[in-house]
């Protein structure tokens, strides 16, 4: 269609303006795709670690899953372990404490698991259930020792023997374990109980079934015997993380709003500048009999074409960012087609909205004044 050729000519003949707009729209697209991808990636990875505890069932007091899991108090009596172990189909149980503190430098948060390292007649060790193994150093053998996983050791450049501060106390890294399971830092549950003033308590109990295919039946039986508590199948945890974090939905909405605003503003400014620059051309179009609708369509088409280029460029930058982040940092990005489509919609919608005012301004220009414009 010719008008597209005309629009294309305008884009090609004004490369600086075109590139500025493309970058502006791309920023919005990258903002959505990367930040949402990053949030989902982190949650997914956390969920995967939570799932990777080796047990099929997590038993804990009601209302302590989801974001609250991060700050689950030590309120569940460890004595439940013995009762749970008596249920048919249960092979092993282990209590886990959970403590959350601010992350390094006050950014994010750090979760610490309290685990049992010696089995009793009530429960097994965390290692026995989860299958973690020490790849460097040794297992916890003293109260002031902790374990960290290999990823944390790599990220923070820590090794056995290094000091580590928790609860304002100096701990020592006894060993490094694999695979990642639960939180990345583990200390003795008894020490955590002492420091939190919760002797005999834990945050949750991991229940391993004789075979995974009976987990639902076992979960039902646990629920029947101990109603009022929360029974979670660990296979569902990644989904809970990706879907069940209300703060993420708010965060995503904010990001989308921000991205739409950026796209719309960039297009508005650029298209308005372009209309001002091309005032005389608009006067010529009017002298040729171009209707207001045609002028609006022409400017909107140009904005949409720029926005489409911005969306494609944004996709490219997003993939490049993913490659950079996953190659050079431990961050995980999970892209989702849904968010690519959302970003495209936001970019195009932002562009179309942003071009509305310049288009209306152009359509309403006085032809004589426009023709006299220098």
């Amino acid at each position: 269609m010719f008008i597209d050729q005309f629009v294309m000519a305008n884009l090609i003949e004004r490369p600086a303006r075109t590139l500025t707009c493309v970058f502006g729209v791309a920023i919005g697209v990258v903002l959505i795709v990367v930040t949402v991808g990053l949030a989902h990636g982190i949650l997914y990875e956390t969920g995967q670690r939570a799932k990777n505890v080796g047990a099929e069932i997590m038993f804990q007091p009601r209302g302590t899953f989801g974001p609250s899991l991060m700050s689950a108090p030590l309120s569940l009596p460890v004595a439940y372990c013995r009762l749970l172990r008596q249920i048919d189909g249960v092979q092993a149980v282990t209590p886990v404490g959970r403590y959350v503190r601010s992350g390094t430098g006050g950014i994010g948060f750090e979760v610490i698991d309290g685990i049992v390292t010696e089995s009793t007649d009530q429960y097994e060790t965390y290692a026995e259930i989860s299958g973690i193994r020490i790849i460097q150093g040794h297992d916890i053998s003293a109260d002031d020792e902790i374990l960290i996983d290999a990823q944390k050791a790599k990220n923070r450049q820590l090794k056995p023997g290094d000091g580590y501060e928790i609860f304002g106390r100096r701990f020592r890294i006894a060993g490094i374990y694999e695979p990642a399971s639960g939180s990345r830092t583990k200390m003795r549950l008894s020490v955590m109980q002492q420091l939190l003033g919760a002797l005999g308590k834990c945050s949750s109990i991991l229940v391993k079934c004789v075979t995974p295919d009976i987990q639902e039946a076992v979960a039902r039986e646990i629920d029947r015997r101990f109603p009022g508590n929360q029974i979670i199948l660990t296979r569902d945890i990644p989904r809970f993380y990706s879907e069940g974090v209300p703060a993420l939905a708010v965060f995503v909405r904010v990001v989308i709003g921000l991205a739409t605003t950026i796209s719309a503003l960039v297009i508005l400014i650029a298209m308005y500048a372009a209309v001002m620059e091309r005032t005389r051309e608009i006067g010529i179009l009017k002298s040729l009999g171009a209707s207001k609708g045609l002028i609006v369509r022409w400017i909107e088409k140009e904005a949409l074409l720029i926005s489409a280029l911005g969306v494609l460029f944004g996709y490219g930058v997003a993939y490049l960012t993913k490659w950079g982040l996953t190659t050079y940092t431990s961050l995980i990005i999970r892209f989702d087609v849904r968010w690519f489509l959302t970003a495209a919609l936001v970019g195009l919608l932002g562009g179309a909205i942003g071009a509305l005012y310049p288009a209306a301004h152009a359509a309403n220009l006085d032809p004589i004044e426009a023709l006299a414009y220098e």
Partner: protein
Amino acid sequence: MGDRKRSIVETRQLEMIYRMGKIGVHALRGVDLIVHEGEFVAIMGPSGCGKSTLLHIIGGLLTPTRGRVFVDGHELTAMSDAERTDLRRRKIGFVFQRFNLFPTLTVEGNLRLAERIYSNGGRDQVGDPVREREILRLLRLDDKINHKPTELSGGEQQRVAIARAVINRPAILLADEPTGNLDSENAEIVLRMMKDLNQHFGQTIIMITHNPEAASMANRILKMRDGRIIS
């Protein structure tokens, strides 16, 4: 021109007052004008006498303060802005002193744009390729079709502007100082071509000019002074 020919443009008691704050400046003071189909009319007069205002009103780019304007039987002064735009699209071609071509488009692109606007963005029937070829040949632009305006001389640019103005068979061609930016040689070429358009295609032309030699190409010369046609 013979009286039997129908009028293509008619103005009755046309007045135009530009408001500049509280002061009103009379640009036209009761202009009565009839231009017949196929006429080539030149309008002469000193700067500020109202020539361009008259042309812009006839072209529907300006609304007069008082009076009536008829173009090809349609009363322009009774129309809405959208209707005037539509009439301009279908009935009127403009040629300006400054050529006013689109610099990003080739000669062909400029012509196609005019056709696209004439077809209301592609909704209506697009122009006639035979006429397009004839006009390009008449204006000696056949070999310049892929050139951009910056690659053409002033005379060539003005010929493209004329081609663009007449490509859609307008009822009337309005030319505002079409040779004002040209040297005498190119001016003569452009004027001769306008004359050819008038003679070969029967194109009605109203041309504003300061130049008596340019005006001499027309069938009829009107002189204006102080917002009135004096002869």
